[in-house]
């Protein structure tokens, strides 16, 4: 068990010159300030299909962190090096609503960092089947524009964003198209008349990011803002539902021992499997409620 606690200590803060610094002393008990254990997440709320003019959307609330993701499917030309695949484009907007530091261009750096991380975790063959997004090789394919909007910042952004992206991709429905070929050889794309005739994406292997923050001698999952301020180094582990790691990234100015990196990876895989299982259950449950379910949206 580990207790991470706020300590205002007489002599030990001398090495940190910043004003609002709090140092936590971790002992061997497993009790954080809000009573959670080191591997417990805060209570999360997920709702899909909240934005009507997107192909798929999701909103995730993890404690005080609020993320909205919208996916729009548009037709375009495939990339040169991958002619028979569609692709995903990520854009992260850190809104000034989240925290005053994001005013003006303050949130751009964080936005690019998150977007680059999302590109990296999806940058492998297994995560999402891009060949299903191809309409006709070298000519037409579906491009999924994934837009992430940070509504409120309450710690643990990467986790919440990856959960929201997975939920939004699950909710995405791409219209079915047929390519008709004329006698002259010119191709015409026909959209089906039925608006509910669409293909859904298989998000079984879409990874989720688990952030492990090192505080004292132990690491914690799902750090709040205060815990993040006390943690000098964190490890972002991107895990699929089967426990396969797709990406590993270290953030923070502190250093991490190779032993602790191994431990954190193991914790990340363990927690990741539980996270995927819970997410899948809730998405399935929401799907089963059907189109008549009560949508809470933003005014609930």
């Amino acid at each position: 068990m580990m207790f991470v606690k706020l300590v205002v200590n007489v002599r030990r803060c001398s090495c940190y010159p910043e004003s609002f610094r709090q140092q936590r002393i971790g002992t061997q008990e497993d009790l954080r300030v809000d009573g959670r254990g080191c591997e417990d997440y805060r209570c999360a709320e997920v709702e899909t299909d909240v934005v009507s003019n997107t192909s798929g959307s999701a909103r995730v609330k993890l404690g005080h962190t609020d993320i909205l993701v919208g996916v729009k499917a548009e037709m375009g030309t495939p990339k040169w090096e991958r002619p028979d695949e569609g692709y995903l484009e990520f854009f992260v907007d850190c809104s000034a609503n989240a925290t005053p530091e994001f005013e003006g261009r303050g949130g751009d750096d964080l936005g690019t960092e998150i977007a680059n991380t999302l590109y990296r975790i999806f940058n492998n063959k297994g995560s999402i089947d891009l060949t299903s997004l191809c309409i006709s090789p070298r000519e037409h394919c579906w491009i999924l524009y994934v837009d992430v909007l940070l509504l409120e910042c309450g710690g643990n952004l990467f986790d919440a964003i990856s959960i929201a992206v997975k939920a939004a991709l699950f909710n995405t429905s791409i219209p079915k198209v047929r390519v008709l070929e004329d006698e002259e050889g010119s191709k015409d794309i026909e959209l089906s008349d039925d608006p509910y005739d669409c293909i859904r994406l298989n998000v079984e292997n879409v990874p989720c990011i688990i952030t492990l923050s090192k505080i004292g001698y132990r690491h914690v999952v799902d750090a709040t803002l205060q815990e993040e301020a006390c943690s000098l180094a964190s490890l972002l582990v991107s895990v699929t539902s089967k426990g396969v790691l797709t990406c590993l990234r270290k953030v923070g100015k502190g250093s991490l021992d190779p032993e602790s990196i191994f431990e954190m990876m193991e914790t990340g895989k363990r927690v990741g499997k539980v996270l995927h299982a819970s997410l899948q259950t809730i998405l399935q449950k929401e799907e089963n409620l059907g189109p008549k379910r009560q949508k809470v949206g933003f005014l609930g």
């Binding site: 207790f3 004003s19 363990r270």
Partner: protein, 292 residues
């Protein structure tokens, strides 16, 4: 290890029967308070179109002919005699700047601070150079408001043995309007922890010190806190957060009732929405019973 994901549920309005007999007149910015021109305008109101209109969101208070609107969520407005908990942000020449969730940083003058050992003498140049040894940036202190400057900035003092630097504990930041004004803001709760309910919305929960020996104005920092104390403190912290989420006033009795109501649940479960509502409902019931 647990991960609970759920579908959102629309919040329900509280049943009217639970409100007190005197209904509060709640307004939002732009609401008309009254069209009667005989009243004097107080804070939070302005005159427009022959009507008195509210400029902040809160409850209307009327004292004889004066109408003002007391905002629900606001910065702390200092008043002489208030107890505050603040964080040192800067160490300046003869003063410390303290952050107390108000519009301007509060000021703690070197002459308003107790020297260790309780000596009374004029502060010298050596004291000025040694300021950082007493309090440095990032330290938390409890102090009392001595005076309010004309621009609204607050001047603090720690001229009593019960004020001074705070040791180990947990800080919870809430809106200042939720802290009830009482005779004393330092409470030793029977559950095993002590709490300082700062008027500025900063609430400090710490383990009850065992013996009250000769206190040097709060410069001792106890390092080891046993697990049982930590659990009590975590539980109290979660209770405060749930009371604040349901917009209940914070004072020692409400805190104690909430703590007792939460004992049947695990500490980390208190923050779940349905358990939070249940606990606060029980607290409300007990407070109503106690009043009437």
């Amino acid at each position: 290890m647990a991960m609970e994901i759920r579908l959102p549920v629309a919040r329900q309005r509280l049943p009217e029967s639970l409100d007190r007999d005197t209904q509060k007149h709640l307004v939002v910015p732009g609401d008309t308070i009254t069209t009667d021109t005989g009243f004097m305008r107080g804070h939070g109101t302005y005159m427009g179109d022959e009507k008195l209109i509210a400029s902040v969101a809160g409850s209307v208070e009327r004292v004889n002919k004066l109408i003002c609107v007391k905002a629900l969520k606001t910065r702390y407005n200092g008043e002489v005699g208030d107890i505050v908990v603040g964080r040192i942000t800067e160490v300046q020449q003869k003063r410390w700047k303290v952050e107390t969730n108000s519009r301007l940083d509060s000021v703690l003058l070197l002459s308003s601070m107790n020297l260790p050992g309780g000596e009374l003498r004029r502060r010298s140049a050596e004291d000025e150079l040694a300021m950082r040894d007493f309090l440095r940036e990032g330290d938390l202190i409890s102090a009392e408001v001595q005076a309010v400057f004309s621009d609204g900035a607050v001047s603090l003092h720690t001229r009593s043995l019960k004020y001074g630097k705070l040791g180990q504990g947990v800080l919870v930041q809430v809106s200042p309007s939720l802290v009830k004004r009482q005779k004393t803001h330092f409470h030793d709760l029977p559950c095993g922890a002590s709490v300082i309910l700062g008027n500025n919305g900063f609430i400090w929960i710490y383990p009850t010190p065992e013996q009250r020996e000769e206190e040097a104005g709060g410069f001792i920092a106890n390092l080891e806190v046993p697990l049982s104390d930590r659990e009590v403190i975590s539980r109290l912290r979660n209770c405060i957060v749930s009371l604040v989420a349901q917009k209940m006033m914070l004072f020692d009795t409400s805190l104690l009732y909430c703590y007792e109501a939460s004992l049947s649940h695990q500490i980390k479960d208190i923050l779940k929405p349905e358990i939070m509502e249940e606990i606060v409902m029980e607290t409300r019931q007990r407070l109503l019973e106690q009043e009437g």
